[in-house]
């Protein structure tokens, strides 16, 4: 009694604060490691002057979209076949705006595809991801006069569509 060291709440609190601070500083070190690749890329770009829109043009998909942009007029509507999850379709929609963008699944059957092309009066079809053979059959000349192959870009295969010629006669 009387010999036991007295508890010092302030000291205990300081100890906890010190532990937290040390852990946090270690975490800051980890954060620097986390952002290091981005920081390195940033410094490289500052040194080379490769910044802004030039960065986007390094990506093949964006290069392809730049080619497509020159072909499709701003007021036109196009159907883009892709999976939303791939993260390409939203880039196409953003970069090709104000062109109207209709997204359809790549495994779409011919009838709903043609129906949508007619309803939306779409003048272009871009296929980033493969179509099932049944639908692809109609796109191969001279199987259907409504589709005209235009180009193979890095954004996908581009067709010109004449919706007025899609008057039926196709079956799933």
């Amino acid at each position: 009694m009387g010999l036991a060291p007295r508890q010092n709440p302030d000291g205990r609190r300081d100890f906890v604060v010190t532990i937290i601070l040390v852990l946090w500083l270690a975490q800051v070190g980890w954060l620097i490691w986390w952002f290091a690749p981005e920081g390195q890329d940033l410094i490289n770009r500052l040194l080379t002057g490769q910044i802004g829109a030039a960065i986007r043009q390094e990506e093949p998909f964006s290069q392809g979209l730049a080619e497509v942009q020159e072909i499709i007029p701003p007021a036109a509507t196009y159907v883009f076949l892709d999976r939303y999850e791939a993260g390409k379709e939203n880039k196409a929609r953003y970069l090709l705006y104000p062109r109207r963008h209709i997204l359809l699944r790549p495994r779409i059957r011919p009838a709903p595809l043609f129906d949508r092309l007619v309803r939306e009066q779409a003048e272009y079809l871009i296929i980033r991801d493969g179509l099932p053979p049944a639908a692809r059959y109609y796109l191969e000349p001279p199987n259907h006069p409504a589709f005209q192959y235009l180009m193979e870009s890095k954004a996908g295969t581009v067709y010109v569509v004449r919706p007025d010629l899609l008057v039926g006669g196709f079956y799933d």
């Binding site: 302030d10 609190r13 906890v16 604060v17 937290i20 852990l23 946090w24 975490q27 800051v28 980890w30 954060l31 986390w34 952002f35 981005e38 920081g39 940033l42 770009r45 500052l46 910044i51 802004g52 829109a53 960065i55 986007r56 993260g87 939203n90 880039k91 929609r93 953003y94 705006y97 104000p98 109207r100 963008h101």
Partner: protein
């Protein structure tokens, strides 16, 4: 080279004009003796400027007037210029300029010659490095993050090209509020085109204002300057989430900023420490929450509900007047919701169908487990949540008998709201985990700074303990409160 400099000049002018409008309105509308510091007025100004300019752009769309700089900015300059010229106001903003210049000089020189400790300098250097990185990362790279190009950036481009809020050519959560896209459109007007890398300069600036407000709130609570700098560094440099949102064009940073200002001022008001005019700002910045993101509605509701419950529990003197003020400010906030709601109604837009399905119990339990994991998962917020929880536990009993209860309720309320949001979202079994993984950090971010104010409690108590001060509202015991019948005791600085 000259073209690049000129573009930078227009960008700087565009950003400065947002600040000028907001700051000018604060100078004109707040009482001259409001007690806000120059730094606070600066940090508040950017948010207010962004809010009024973008709401005005919505009004211009109603009036069928195309967006152009003279129409968007002109009326505000015409309204504000005569006020600035008035002698009393002129003295105020001249004083503020001097103070801001002095603060900027201290920050740039890291407080040399001003008695700053090496620790303060270290925290400041960390903050400056973080924001320098965010600024460069924002302005050198084009829009790339998912929602930035899918929703916010796309809308900004569409609004700029059509010079109006035209949602006819795409479907990108069209019912979402448009503060961020319209602000980007406003900068495009200054830049003269869709320069989607420079426009992102908005975000680090906004992040900077957020940190300044957090620092100011800590100083008012009262945390000493070194502690407040450390607190600000702790907020920013805990996990990559906040820094990342300072360079991607998402609306979450804006919502976080408005939430901090609205809830922080409400908290000061509950402590009877709010500068004059704060309560109006609570309403206006609550409006900013509603106008920046769909989730803003639930955050606003939680703020007001937490404040009302705190008043009910503490039952302070003059409670009738306080409840009436709270209701009035709630109504003011609601007014900000109507213009966009009216726009949605007149354009036959369905609101929230993609976020609210039925109640799915499996998702509810899954969400609880995932949220608990997210709170301690370092790649989201580092040590932030564990330390906040520790601070809450440390301070637990006292918090129940002080206005700090408000912060606890806001934190718990928002956590509950996230779980509920996940429980009602219409998602397939396969999609649901991905949905949570993609959104949980953002949903937590919205109230991270407000919950961060909880850290000030033990901190301030620690300072007080060292100075042998008693009866701080943060530190005094429930018994003391009851005995003195002084539930809302003021802190002594």
């Amino acid at each position: 080279m000259i073209e690049g400099l000129l573009t930078g000049f227009w960008l700087a002018l565009g950003l400065a004009s947002i600040e000028l409008v907001g700051y000018g309105l604060l100078i004109v509308c707040l009482p001259r003796t409001s007690g806000f510091t120059a730094l606070e007025r600066f940090a508040l100004g950017f948010g207010l400027g962004a809010l009024v300019l973008t709401l005005w752009m919505l009004v211009l769309t109603f009036l069928n007037i195309d967006f152009s700089l003279p129409w968007v900015l002109g009326p505000w300059l015409i309204i504000l210029c005569p006020w600035w010229a008035l002698t009393s106001r002129r003295r105020l903003w001249q004083n503020d300029l001097c103070q801001l210049w002095s603060a900027a000089r201290k920050i740039v020189t890291l407080g040399y010659g001003c008695g700053w400790t090496w620790r303060e300098r270290a925290w400041l250097i960390l903050l400056l490095l973080a924001f320098a990185f965010a600024l460069l990362r924002a302005t050198l790279y084009p829009l790339w993050a998912w929602d930035a190009i899918t929703t916010w950036g796309l809308k900004a481009k569409a609004f700029y090209l059509s010079r109006a809020i035209d949602l006819s050519r795409f479907e990108a959560h069209n019912y979402y509020p448009n503060l961020v896209p319209l602000l980007m459109t406003y900068i495009y007007l200054w830049l003269g085109g869709v320069v989607d890398h420079l426009v992102k300069a908005i975000f680090p600036l906004w992040g900077g204002c957020l940190v300044l407000m957090f620092y100011s709130f800590l100083r008012r609570l009262p945390v000493k300057r070194p502690g407040a700098w450390l607190g600000a560094a702790f907020l920013v440099l805990n996990g990559p989430t906040l820094i990342t949102h300072c360079f991607i064009a998402y609306a979450d940073l804006a919502l976080t900023y408005y939430t901090l200002v609205s809830a922080g001022l409400l908290f000061l008001w509950l402590r009877d420490q709010a500068p004059a005019g704060s309560l109006i700002l609570v309403g206006v910045y609550g409006g900013g929450m509603l106008w920046s993101k769909y989730e803003g509605g639930s955050l606003v509701m939680i703020n007001f509900l937490a404040a009302a419950l705190t008043l009910l529990w503490l039952w302070p003197p003059g409670r009738g007047r306080k409840f009436a003020s709270l209701a009035g400010i709630g109504f003011l906030t609601l007014l900000f919701y109507f213009p966009w709601r009216y726009f949605c109604l007149t354009h036959q837009m369905t609101i929230g169908a993609d976020h609210v399905g039925g109640f799915f119990p499996a998702q509810f339990w899954h969400a609880i487990i995932y949220l608990l994991q997210a709170l301690v998962w370092p790649p989201y917020f580092g040590l932030f949540w564990p330390v906040v929880i520790l601070a809450g536990v440390w301070w637990g009993w006292e918090a129940l008998y002080s206005p700090g209860l408000f912060l606890v309720l806001v934190t718990l309320g928002n956590l509950a709201a996230i779980i509920l949001a996940y429980a009602v979202v219409p998602a397939s079994v396969a999609e649901f985990p991905f949905y949570m993984r993609a959104t949980v950090d953002r949903l937590l971010l919205h109230f991270v700074p407000v919950s961060g104010l909880l850290l000030a409690a033990p901190w301030a108590a620690r300072n007080v303990g060292r100075e042998n001060m008693v009866n701080l509202s943060w530190g005094c015991s429930p018994g003391k409160f009851r005995k003195d019948n002084k539930l809302f005791c003021h802190s002594r600085r």
